[in-house]
C-alpha cells in the first residue's frame, strides 16, 4: 500500500502549493467534484468546443451512430469518442489488481512518479491508482461556468492514451489528509450535484454526521428504498415493543384518499405534514383536476393554474368536505381532534360532497370550518 500513500502525500503537497490554477480550469479547490459549477447539468451546458477532438472523433463518430437523425450534436460525438472502448482496454483505469491484470506496471510507475492532480498530469499517461488519484474527466465539459478553454484542454489531455474518463480530484487528497483541509469532506459532500428538484438533504447533517444533535433531518422523499409494507409493519412493531428511541412516531404512514367522483384513489403519507393546513393544501393540489371536472383529455387539465384560494373555497364551501375513517371504522370530519391524535387514528381519507357529510355531527362541522 505504500506507493499509493506516497502518491497521496505528494498530492497533498502539490495541491496545497498549487491549487487549481495549474489546471487552468478555474476550479476551486474545495469542489470535490467541481460540481457546483456543473450542477446545471442540462444540455445547454455542453456548449464547449469539441473541435479539438475531431481527430479522435472521426473514428468513433461512425461507431456510435445509434442516435436519432437530427440529434447528432457535436457534443455527443465528442463525448462518445472519449469513451472509445477500444482504447479503453489499453489503459489501466482499474487499479484493483495490478498484478493480475498485467496491465498496470506503467500505472504503478506513474503512481510512484507522482500522481499530481493538476490537469497537466493527465497528459503524462498517468492513470489512477487504488482509488486515491484521479485524472481529469470529460465531465469537465459540462462545467457550465468555466471558461471554454478548459474543456478543450481537458478533452485533449484526458486520455493518456485515451484511457477513458477519469475523475478529477482537484485538491482531492481528501482521503487520509484530514489535516490538510478538514472542511473538505464536508464541502465535498455538500456540493453534490442535484440533477433536479426533489432532494432535501440537510447538508449540515452530512458533514456533522458524528455530531450529537442532528437537527430534524429533512428526508429525501422515498429513500431509502424500503417497501411500504415493511415500513408499516416495523412502525407498528416498534410501537408495540415500546422501543421508543425518541423517534417521533411511525416512519411513514400512507393512507388512501378517495374523492367522490374521482376514478381512482391516491395515497398520502401523513407523516410528511404537521398541520391540517398542510394536509389540506396538499390534497387540494392532488385533486384539483377532479374538482374542476377536467380529468378528461391530456393537456386540458391544469392549463389554467387555479389560485389556491379559489380551490380552498371549493373545498371548504358547500362543495366538498374532508372526512376520515378512524380505527373504529367510523367516518369523522377532519379537524376535530389534535393533529397528532388524528395521525394516530386516521386509517383512510375521503373527500365527500358537503351534502353527504350532513350526517356527521354539526358541531364538529362547524369546528372544522373554523379550524380550516
Amino acid at each position: 500500500m505504500s506507493p499509493p500513500l506516497l502518491g497521496v502525500e505528494e498530492e497533498v503537497q502539490s495541491n496545497v502549493s498549487s491549487p487549481s490554477v495549474d489546471c487552468g480550469l478555474g476550479l476551486k479547490e474545495r469542489n470535490y467534484l467541481g460540481l457546483s459549477d456543473c450542477s446545471s447539468v442540462d444540455s445547454s451546458a455542453v456548449s464547449s468546443s469539441p473541435d479539438n477532438n475531431k481527430n479522435n472523433l472521426n473514428l468513433k463518430a461512425t461507431e456510435l451512430r445509434l442516435g436519432l437523425p437530427g440529434s447528432q450534436s457535436p457534443e455527443r460525438e465528442t463525448e462518445l469518442c472519449l469513451l472509445n472502448s477500444g482504447k479503453l482496454d489499453e489503459k489501466p483505469l482499474f487499479p484493483l489488481l495490478p498484478s493480475k491484470d498485467g496491465i498496470c506496471p506503467s500505472s504503478q510507475k506513474n503512481v510512484v512518479a507522482g500522481n499530481k492532480r493538476g490537469f497537466s498530469d493527465t497528459m503524462d499517461g498517468f492513470s489512477e491508482v487504488k482509488g486515491y488519484a484521479y485524472a481529469e474527466k470529460s465531465w469537465m465539459f459540462h462545467d457550465a461556468g468555466s471558461d471554454s478553454e478548459s474543456p478543450q484542454t481537458v478533452g485533449h489531455g484526458k486520455y493518456p492514451g485515451n484511457s477513458g474518463a477519469n475523475v478529477i480530484l482537484s485538491a482531492r487528497s481528501p482521503g487520509a489528509q484530514a489535516s490538510v483541509k478538514k472542511d473538505e469532506p464536508a464541502n465535498v459532500l455538500q456540493k453534490q450535484p442535484h440533477a433536479t428538484n426533489g432532494i432535501n438533504l440537510k447538508q449540515t447533517d452530512i458533514s456533522n454526521n458524528k455530531s450529537s444533535a442532528p437537527a430534524a433531518k429533512a428526508q429525501v422523499v422515498g429513500w431509502p428504498p424500503v417497501r411500504s409494507f415493511r415500513t408499516k409493519t416495523l412502525a407498528t412493531s416498534s410501537k408495540n415493543n415500546d422501543e421508543v428511541d425518541g423517534k417521533p412516531g411511525p416512519a411513514a404512514l400512507f393512507v388512501k384518499v378517495s374523492m367522490d367522483g374521482a376514478p381512482y384513489l391516491r395515497k398520502v403519507d401523513l407523516t410528511t405534514y404537521s398541520t391540517y393546513g398542510e394536509l389540506s393544501s396538499a390534497l387540494e393540489k392532488m385533486f384539483s383536476c377532479f374538482t374542476l371536472g377536467q380529468c378528461g383529455s391530456h393537456g386540458a387539465a391544469g392549463k389554467e393554474i387555479l389560485s389556491q384560494s379559489k380551490l380552498k373555497d371549493l373545498l371548504h364551501g358547500s362543495e366538498y368536505v374532508l372526512t376520515y375513517k378512524d380505527k373504529d371504522g367510523d367516518w369523522m370530519l377532519v379537524g376535530d381532534v389534535p393533529w397528532e391524535m388524528f395521525v394516530g387514528t386516521c386509517k383512510r381519507l375521503k373527500i365527500m360532497k358537503g351534502s353527504d357529510a350532513i350526517g356527521l355531527a354539526p358541531r364538529a362541522m362547524e369546528k372544522s370550518r373554523v379550524t380550516n
Binding site: 437523425p69 472502448s85 487499479p95 465531465w139 482521503g175 409493519t233 415493543n241 387539465a301
Partner: protein, 586 residues
Amino acid sequence: MRKKMACSLPDEVLEHVFSFIRSDKDRNAVSVVCKSWYEMERWCRRRLFIGNCYAVSPRMVIRRFPEVRSIELKGKPHFADYNWVPDGWGGYVLPWIVEMVGAYPWLEEIRLKRMVVTDECLEHIAKSFKNFKVLVLFSCEGFSTDGLAAIAASCKNLRELDLRESDVDDLGGHWLSHFPETYTSLVSLNISCLGSDEVSLSALERLVGRCTNLRTLRLNRAVPLDKIAYILRRAPQLVDFGTGTYSADLQTDVFSNLAGAFYSCKELRSLSGFWDVVPAYLPAIYPVCSRLTSLNLSYATIQSPDLIKLLRHCPSLQRLLVLDYIEDSGLEALSSSCKDLQELRVFPSDPFGVERNVSLTELGLVSVCLACPKLQSVLYFCRQMSNAALVTIAQNRPNLTRFRLCIIEPRTADYLTLEPLDVGFGAIVEHCKDLRRLSLSGLLTDRVFEYIGRYAKKLEMLSVAFAGESDLGLHHVLSGCESLRKLEIRDSPFGDKALLANSAKLETMRSLWMSSCSVSFGTCKLLGQKMSRLNVEVIDECGPPDSRPDVCPVNKLYIYRSVAGPRFDMPPFVWTMDEDYALRDS
C-alpha cells in the same frame, strides 16, 4: 392447415419434442427457426410470461397463442414498490381477464405482480375458469376480501392462493369460510399480508385440517401464537410455514406444546412470519432448525444474541432474511454456522432515523462473503461502506449474481478514504462475471458507470440513485451493458444526450425509469415521436409538461418497448409522447 415439409419431422413428433422445452427463452428461440416451427410452437405453448403488461395487448397474445394454460404478468415499474409511482398510474389487469375469459376457458394459473386487481377481476376468474388452480398476487392492490370470497367459493380445483405483500381491503365477511366443506385441494396458502381481522381462525383451522396436501401455509399477523401448535399438528406435512405474531406471555405449557408441534413437522424447510417476537419462544423452533433451508426473520425485532443462538442451530440454512439487529457480531456467527448460505438480505430496522441504532457495518457483510462459499445473492442496508470492503467481497465472491447495496445516507463516500465508491463497485462488476442484478448507492461518479459498461456484460437489471455526474455515466451503461433489460434511475444528473445517442438500445430493453434526472421535455417528445416501438411516458403531477419550456426537465420518465402502441388507460398526470402528442395537445 399444417403443411408437412419434405424433410421435417411430423407434427406430432415436433409437438412432443417441444413439450419438453419449458423455458421461455428456449421457446422463443424455437419459434423463430422456421415458419412451421413457429406455427407448431405457438399452438402448443402453454405458459406465458409477460414482463410488462403494456408491451403487448391481450388480443395480440391470444391471437398468437391460442392454448395457454398459465400466464404471468407484471404491471407497474419496480420503483412503485417504494411509492415512487403515483397511484392511478395503471397496471390494470381487468382488460386481460376479460379477454382471457373468452379465449382461454381452460386457463389454470394467473400470476400477477404489481398490478391493479379489482374484485370484478376476481369474480370473473372465479366464474369463468373451470379448472382454475393457481392465483398469485404479488404486491398487487385494488381488491378486497369480497373478491377473495368469490375465489374461495367457486374455484373447486384451487391449489394455490398467494397474496404476498398485496394491499387488500378488509370488508369483513370471513372470506375463508367461503371455501366449501368439500374443498380439499389446497396446496399453498399465503395470507401474510392481510390485516388484523380478515381471517376467521376457526375457518382456517378447518381448512387446514381437511386439506391434507397443504405444503405451504403463511399466516398473517392476527393469528396468535397459541394457535400455531393446533394448526401445525393438523398439518405436519408442511414444508413452508409462516407464523403469525410470535408473542405471548411465557407459559411452559404453551411453549412445550409449540415445541412439540414443531417437532412433528418433519418436512419443514422454510419458516417466516415472526412478527413481534418474544425471544423466549424462539427455542420452540429448534427441533426443525437443523433441516431449515430458508428463514425469514425480517420482521422479527430480536437482538443479536438471540439471533446468534438461533443461527447456531441452522447449519443447512441457504436463505436468510433478517433485520440489522443482527449486527456485525451476528453476521460473523452466521458465517461460521451456515456454510451453505446462498442468499442474505439484511433490512434496516430504522431506515429513516438519522443516527445509527445498531452496530452493523460493512464488516458484517465482508465476513459473510469471506466465509460462505456459495453466497450468490445479497441485499444489504448499512450506513457505511469502503472501497476496500467491496474489493474484498468482489475478489472472494466472484460467484455473486445479485448484489444490492443500500447505504442509507445518499452519496456517502468511502468512510475510510472519503473517496467515491467507484472502485469498489467496479471491482464487483469486474470480478463477478455472472452478475445479473446490481443496485448502487453511496458517492459515485461517472467512473463507476464506465466500469459497469465495460465489465457487467451479463447485467440485466441496474438500480441507480444519487449517482453519477453527467450523461457520460448513462451512456457508459447504455452502450456497454449488453444484457441490460431494466434500468431504473433516480436523482442522478443524466440527461438528453445519453438517451438520444442510445435510443436504439432502449428497444432492446424492457424498460427505463428515470425520475428527478435531467431529461428535458423536448427530448422526451423527440424520442416518442421518432421511436414508434417505444412508449415514452412522462409522469408529472404538477401539471402538463408542455406548460413549461421544452428544456425543462421532466419529473418522472418511463420508457418501455411495446408492440401495442401507446396505452389509453393513463391518469391525467401521465402523458404519452408520440406523434400525436403535439396534435392532441394543441
